[in-house]
């Protein structure tokens, strides 16, 4: 399944904008009607008074639901090792441009290829080159797995407490936003006057299943960290339900 005609026109327009700046990139269409943008992406950029001028061979893969969802990118010149420490998904070789929600949120600001290349791909490649040369990630990096997701949400929500993240994510995982309830960040304010707007914004970028997965990852992490704390109130409803069901089954078996 390829893109329909109006989306195709949009993609062409976006590609032309991209090509005007990054002239080494070309648009390709596969036989199945899928689109990729491949070639050499060169850039000059400066951070902290240090200028990096570099270029990478890349492949940008346009998703079938473009521009609702962002593209993915691979580095094809074998300069970036395919491992976690270099922020590459080992399985398919795509670059981990950021926490999944961060990538979607940045893309949602301007759904086009030039914006994607400039705001997401170039900073990633710039960071890689910069780190090679100066031994430091210029804009930082998230830890791996759920720890990194937790880092991201703490920064996004501007909270210090891990449990505040769990509480806010629970609302998204349960798809249960109620503006008049108290905000889980413990500000003492109603949700609608506190993290409400942000929650309502980010729930447009991914569905509750995705938030549930992220929540469960962080929940497991905090549950296993050795600290004695009761996390039951942070369990999403879907999880609670399946736990109850499971218990009921066990009870039935006992009675038999």
């Amino acid at each position: 399944m390829g893109l329909d005609n109006s989306k195709r026109g949009l993609l062409m327009e976006h590609y032309n904008q991209l090509h005007e700046i990054f002239s080494g990139l070309e648009l390709n269409e596969t036989e199945e009607g899928r689109f990729t943008v491949t070639g050499n992406l060169g850039f000059t950029a400066t951070h902290d008074g240090k200028t990096i001028k570099d270029d990478y061979d890349i492949e940008i893969i346009i998703p079938v639901d473009y521009p609702d969802n962002p593209p993915t990118v691979k580095e094809t010149g074998n300069r970036i090792p395919r491992d976690k420490d270099n922020h590459v998904y080992p399985t398919d070789g795509t670059l981990c441009l950021g926490a999944p929600l961060a990538v979607k949120r940045t893309f949602a600001q301007q759904q086009n290829l030039l914006w994607f290349a400039r705001e997401q791909v170039v900073p990633f490649l710039f960071s890689h080159s910069y780190n090679r040369e100066h031994g430091v990630m210029p804009f930082g990096a998230l830890r791996h797995g759920s720890e990194g997701i937790l880092d991201y949400y703490k920064e996004l929500f501007a909270v210090e407490n891990d449990l505040a993240v769990l509480g806010l994510l629970k609302i998204l995982a349960d798809n249960n936003y109620k503006g008049h309830t108290l905000c889980p960040c413990n500000s003492g304010q109603k949700l609608r006057h506190c993290h409400g707007d942000l929650l309502r914004e980010i729930k447009t970028y991914q569905n509750e299943d995705k938030f549930l997965t992220e929540h469960v990852g962080i929940f497991t992490l905090l549950n296993n960290n050795g600290k004695k704390q009761n996390l039951r109130e942070y369990m999403p409803n879907t999880v609670l339900k399946s736990v109850r069901k499971h218990k009921r089954k066990l009870n039935l078996k006992k009675h038999k």
Partner: protein, 364 residues
Amino acid sequence: MYTEEQKQQFNKILANIADSLDIPESKYQEAVSRYEAIGKWLDANDSKLHVYKPAIYPQGSFRLGTMVKPINDGDEYDVDLVCHLEINKDNITQAELKKMVGDRLKENETYKKMLEEGRRCWTLDYANEFHMDILPAIPDYEKLNDCILVTDKKLRLWQKSNPKGYARWFADRMRVIFKQRKIALAESIRANVEDIPDYKIRTSLQRSVQILKRHRDIYFDGKDHKPISIIITTLAGHAYQNEADLFEAITNIINDMTDPKNIKDQGGKYYIPNPTNPEENFADKWNEDGNLPKAFLTWLGQLKTDMETAIEQKDLSDIKKLFGPIFGIGVVGTVFEKLEPVEASSKSHPQITFSPKPNKPWAI
């Protein structure tokens, strides 16, 4: 203080920003063919509206040439249309008129799926492209001269309007420069002046309005009391004195917009009359909520400071830093990447500026 050279460079930047805020020509053409198709459908021989000689024409910023790109790229351009039917107001109610137009649109399977009803108009939603607002209207026989009466669900009386007259007033405010620009364009492409369509011309008034509106859109993003476009356009039209120079035009517009001869005082009330109909006060809402004029003035003050600070900068990169958050990083980035001096290697390794805090890389 700034040099003449700085001013010329600044003018170029402003003109480029205005141009990249404008609706692209291909999109413009597409919008025209879309609404012409709507017009044909309404006027088809089997249409109940046929006897009333339905006519569709654009109004507002699309007609004036002051369109501004939505802040988010995925969002649709708003195109405002009038659907004019030759019916006497004594023979029809507002509700009947609105329903008649809606019913005919619904007879078309494609339009039916895209149709939404608003307070005043019908909206056809072309995903990823346009929102076409279709405002049902009938002639105002008491006034003639393109005056129309339009529907409004909340108000019992017919609302008076005159979009064609307003567009004529606006065109008249920039008549001198418009003609100059048209001749210059015709000469540069060796064409006849008569063959250049109006939409190809953008005067410093139109561009000033675009820049003002964009600054407003970003300044008021997520905030209340955003000034309405018709107030900005009208005040800018009054203040404009056919300055050819864009920076001069904007500066004078900002300074003169608030002059008491433009924002009038009528018995202690704000009065910004519709230039084609003194009975209509664009500042009606300002008299109900004092925060509106206050927000307008604060915003205008900020715009003035931003312009004054920017013109003083000698380095392109400093203007770029300043303009990024004001006009949008996407638009400003593209403009400056085109303007920055082209070195041998800059084609393959262009100077790229991204947000100061990009996403941090992650791993699963």
